[in-house]
Amino acid sequence: MAAQSVVRAKEDRRLWGKPAAQTVDLPFLALVLLLLTLGLVMLYSASYAQSEYDTGYTISTRYLQKQAVCAAIGLVAMFFFSRIPAMLWYRLAWPLYAVSIILLLSVLVIGEEVNGAKRWINLAGLQFQPSEIAKFTMILLFARLTRGFGTKARQFRYGVLGFGLALMGILVPLALEKHLSAIMLMGMVAVVMMFVAGTSPKWLLAGAGGAAVFLVVYVSLMGYAGDRITAWLHPELDPGDTGYQILQSLYAIGSGGLFGLGYGKSRQKYLYLPFQYNDYIFAVICEELGFVGALGIIALFAMLILRGYWIALRARSRFSTVLAAGLTTLIAVQTVLNLCVVTNLLPSTGIALPFFSYGGTALAVNLGEMGIVLSISRERNEIKRD
């Protein structure tokens, strides 16, 4: 116990020192910028037809413009956060967690409805999704708790009850919003973080099993389980309605072939494939860039994720490690789930592809999170200099 507090004090001293002057992890930064650039380039192509159609054939860049603005905001946030010592976030973990719960609950009252779901909030003209922020604050709190629990995380009341209660604080409001995809995403990120923190795998397996049971019950209570499962397993049975989305996605992917139709030459994006510029943008990527291009992008994601965990391993504190691992996990889980949905390995849920899918809040928050990872990457270099 004593030793632990000594370690923590040392960490604090080192991390709360003067602003870091050391360089961030350049490979990680390069991967982020590369993916962001590719994301914008592909978004332009994928949203081109929809933009033309929605603006009465006058503007082809409607969605690109909005996304670019958010990308700029996100880059500023990334730069700013990369210069903030990670320990600042340690202090802010609880307050931000509280704020995000308040925001999530306020959505239920003052939220705005988009596409039939009440998930957006309008603050001073800025429209954003509190759930995007909640994802971050939950990871932040988990990182803080991990540091606090230390090796006690193996015990049930810390490793399971402690994390579990923190998770529920976010999941309950999300459940009230019926934001199933966010619940799934957060649950999976939480499980990974608890595993990293040291919670016994047997509890995690039990928890995952329990979550699966809960999911089945929840989905059947929502009343559209049968339709969704049928549409997932046999989309061809109802090509005009429930199977439409996934069939159109498969047509896009399959017709891409080995090398694709070429950039900008997707046909499915001409309003055949719904959500072609957000959740299903990867299908357009496949159609235009082919198997080779799609694998290339997957490789970039894999490299980013691996580098993220590498940064986590080299971080100077348990908090930074778990925070970096958590943020990387968030990107990884989103990416993997999105690919699985687009290729119909999983039933359709609304999960965006980081850096690519249209969605300002998500992009800005993602970039901000990458800033934090960069900031953590700086710690290592700082230590090296010592």
């Binding site: 030793a3 000594v6 370690v7 040392k10 037809a49 033309e52 159609y53 090796t151 990974v192 595993f195 990293v196 040291g198 005009g240 309605d241 159109q248 498969l250 047509y251 896009a252 992917i253 399959g254 017709s255 891409g256 072939g257 080995l258 139709l261 030459k265 046909r267 499915q268 001409y270 309003l271 055949y272 496949c286 082919g290 198997f291 799609a294 694998l295 997957i298 994601f301 894999a302 994720i305 691996l306 965990y309 590498w310 986590a312 391993l313 100077r316 504190s317 348990r318 490690t321 691992a325 990387t328 996990t329 990884a332 889980v333 993997v336 690919l339 699985c340 290729t343 119909n344 390995l345």
Partner: protein
């Protein structure tokens, strides 16, 4: 706290377990988690590429059919019987309407009156938003489509579409409806010429294949492939609209006159070539509205059934009624020919020498024929007495024909029946032909086993069926020199650029009888009209021949299982007999007993055919031989006003009329009847000298069943003139069977009433 822990805190702050767990997580989420998606992508994009590429292409291409112009149907004088006009289909794209947030209620209210539908129904169509095509207006006229187009532009609506198509128009309406047929909603020929010549008429549908974005969005990398359509050929019929009109008019007149219950059918054919000039089945329908039931009584019955609420019974009855009115009975339905068939039996017997013109028969009215269980009755119970061959035909004597059949024998009878084409379809180029039902060969040939009932009944056209067309073709061969022809109704098929694609030439199938037999038969058939049961068919100035027929329906039973006494009366007429050109059949199905007129072919069908021939022979240019006794039965009076009494009297006398003067002035000031009226020779004309003609009305007397003299007297008494048509004989059996103004009507004094005379002694 040992050394180890301190060291680890200095170097690496993570316990090795956490280190391992992060490495494991990285391996899982950074590598392994992508494997399923990558494998899946490989399967979709590389292994199954062609499968998905094809599905995607099909998904993105639109094939729009380009309908070909359908050819026109002409009669032999190039009158248009059927033609296509451009119209438009109106359809909704509910998906698009929903996406464009269109005001469905306003659209429904606007469209409803234009497409003749209920607004609520249109709303329901628009509510089915998973569909992309909901037709709401079928074949609307171009001006209506124009209004809809303007509305779409004005209100900037996306989701209402208009597509060009064509509609078939039949300018003559019900005329020859079953022959021409109609096209269904998909512009495919159904029934009649439209069906049997569909391959020529329809042309070849073209198509436009385009790649298109959804919601008709243009795609920059698209291609368009156009396969042009080929317009259909036009069809020229041998049918003559004027002859057809005459046939239908006279059949209609007969239906009204004899209160015919179950419609009528008839046919005019060229004896030598087999070309059909007219072919009618009444009650007919209007192919412009082929779904509607044309017969008012049938329609009322269906309406009543609909109101009764039994929907399935109504639908069944409706489709049965449609099929019935579309049916061309002349070639689709067999019927018992009755005595008209005797022509064939006699021709066969004469041809093979079984009888000659001097063969003797004796008719006692009834006779026990060997091999027949029942006594055979002749239609005339008193019997015809001693007859030779010509009288047997003239009298239509069943007893004589039974003997002719026995002389002929089953083998030869069957052989001739076969030669006459009774066992086969005629091969006419119209859809839906059938061939009737004849006896099995053994039934007429093996008389030891089966008796002679079938053979003898068959000889006078009973207990078997054949189609009217089969009968007419066979009889045509009897009078045309012995050649069985193949009837046809299309003379020429002309391509859109004016080239003849197909020309029908007369086809002789086989010889039936020898030329000399045919010559004999012509004389015999002529004598039936001049001497026999068909006097009512006579047309002054033409040499008409023919044979009557009255047949009981053998297979129609009432609700008690009793055979109904319904009859089909018919007549086959031929003209001119010296060199037969035209053969006419008229058949009336079930004349009503209520008219009091004796139900027989001689009384009802013969005058009908006579009237048809008198209408069409002059039109067809058959030369009229004016015989002295036919010359001037009636005259047209002139205008006598202004003439003196003497001058007028002289003028009238020259016409064979007498005058009756009233008044005392010098000159004629008024006359009854008016100038231009036709009056019988010997009539009296009223001339007024200085007086106005009295403006009095008189009542039309009831002329029914009066003979010629009685009718003249009644007309005189009533103050009207009569015009006599039909049978011209002065025989007492020849009486009025119809008058053109009903008894009791008020008409101006001196009006002319047209009377139809017929020989009611012609009971077959």
């Amino acid at each position: 706290m040992g050394k180890k822990e301190r060291a680890s805190a200095n170097r690496v702050r993570l316990d090795s377990g956490q280190h391992r767990r992060i490495l494991l997580t990285g391996l899982l989420l950074g590598c392994l988690a992508f494997v399923p998606a990558a494998v899946r992508l490989y399967n979709l994009m590389v292994r199954d590429y062609s499968y998905y590429a094809e599905l995607a292409l099909r998904n993105q291409t639109r094939t729009t059919p380009v309908t070909a112009d359908r050819g026109t149907i002409y009669d032999c004088n190039m009158n248009i019987l059927a033609a296509s006009v451009n119209v438009e289909n109106i359809y909704l794209d509910p998906h698009e309407l929903k996406q464009s947030k269109a005001d469905i209620d306003a659209i429904a209210d606007f469209l409803a009156p234009l497409v003749d539908k209920d607004p609520q129904w249109i709303r329901e169509q628009a509510a089915d938003t998973t569909k992309r095509y909901k037709q709401v207006g079928s074949r609307v006229e171009e001006d209506v489509a124009g209004k809809i187009r303007a509305y779409i532009n004005e209100n900037d609506i996306s989701g209402i579409h208009i597509e060009p198509t064509s509609r078939r128009v039949y300018p003559f309406g019900t005329l020859a409806a079953q022959v021409i047929g109609f096209t269904n909603n998909s512009n495919e020929g159904s029934e009649g010429i439209e069906a049997s010549y569909d391959a020529f008429l329809s042309g070849k549908t073209g198509k436009v294949i385009t790649t298109k974005g959804n919601n008709e969005m243009d795609m920059p990398f698209s291609y368009e492939n156009y396969l042009s359509s080929q317009p259909g050929c036009s069809v020229v019929l041998t049918l003559d609209a004027t002859v057809q009109q005459c046939l239908e008019n006279q059949l209609q007149t007969a239906i009204a006159r004899y209160d015919v219950q179950n419609g009528a059918f008839g046919l005019v054919m060229n004896c030598k070539t087999g070309a059909i000039l007219a072919m009618a089945t009444l009650g007919s329908y209007d192919p412009n509205h082929y779904q509607e039931i044309a017969d008012p009584a049938e329609k009322a019955r269906l309406e009543a059934l609909k109101d009764s609420g039994d929907e399935s019974a109504y639908q069944q009855a409706l489709s049965a009624a449609r099929l019935k009115q579309w049916r061309n009975r002349v070639l689709s339905d067999g019927y018992e020919p009755g005595s008209t068939f005797k022509v064939l039996t006699m021709a066969a017997a004469l041809d093979c020498g079984a009888i000659d013109l001097n063969t003797n028969f004796y008719c006692r009215g009834a006779e026990q024929i060997p091999g027949r269980s029942q006594r055979l009755h002749c239609w005339r119970s008193a019997g015809h007495g001693a007859e030779k061959t010509p009288q047997a035909l003239q009298n239509s004597c069943n007893i004589a024909f039974a003997h002719i059949a026995l002389k002929l024998g089953g083998e030869r009878f069957y052989e001739y029946v076969q030669r006459f084409g009774v066992l086969e379809k005629t091969g006419i180029d119209l859809a839906g032909e059938s061939k009737g039902v004849f006896f099995d060969k053994a039934l007429v040939t093996d008389t030891d086993k089966w008796g002679t009932a079938s053979l003898t009944s068959g000889s006078f056209g009973q207990t078997f069926k054949l189609t009217p067309l089969q009968l007419v073709r066979a009889i045509a061969s009897v009078v045309n020199g012995g050649e069985l022809v193949e009837p046809y109704i299309v003379s020429e098929v002309i391509s859109a650029d004016g080239n003849t694609v197909l020309r029908q030439e007369p086809t002789v199938v086989r010889r039936t009888i020898q030329e000399s037999t045919s010559e004999t038969m012509r004389e015999l058939i002529r004598s039936v009209v001049t001497e026999g049961t068909a006097k009512n068919a006579n047309v002054p100035g033409y040499s008409i021949g023919g044979k009557t027929g009255t047949s009981e329906k053998i297979d129609v039973f009432d609700e008690n299982g009793q055979r109904v006494q319904d009859k089909i009366v018919s007549f086959v007429g031929i003209a001119p007999m010296e060199d037969p050109e035209y053969i006419v059949l008229a058949a009336l199905d079930t004349p009503s007993r209520s008219t009091g007129i004796y139900i027989s072919g001689g009384v009802m069908a013969a005058p009908t055919v006579g009237a048809i021939l008198s209408d069409i022979l002059p039109y067809l240019g058959v030369e009229k031989t004016v015989l002295p006794e036919d010359a001037a039965r009636e005259v047209v009076i002139e205008d006598y006003t202004g003439l003196t009494q003497k001058e007028a009297e002289k003028a009238l006398k020259a016409l064979g009329l007498s005058a009756c003067f009233s008044g005392s002035a010098e000159t004629v000031t008024a006359q009854i009847p008016a100038a231009g009226s036709a009056v019988p020779i010997g009539s009296q004309v009223l001339l007024y000298l200085g007086e106005e003609a009295p403006d009095t009305a008189v009542q039309v007397p009831d002329f029914s069943k009066m003979n010629r003299q009685q009718a003249a007297d009644a007309a005189d008494k009533a103050g009207v003139y009569i015009r006599c048509t039909g049978n011209p004989d002065a025989d007492t059996n020849v009486v009025v069977t119809a008058q053109d103004r009903p008894a009791g009507d008020s008409v101006p004094r001196g009006s002319t009433i047209t009377l139809q005379f017929a020989d009611i002694g012609a009971r077959d």
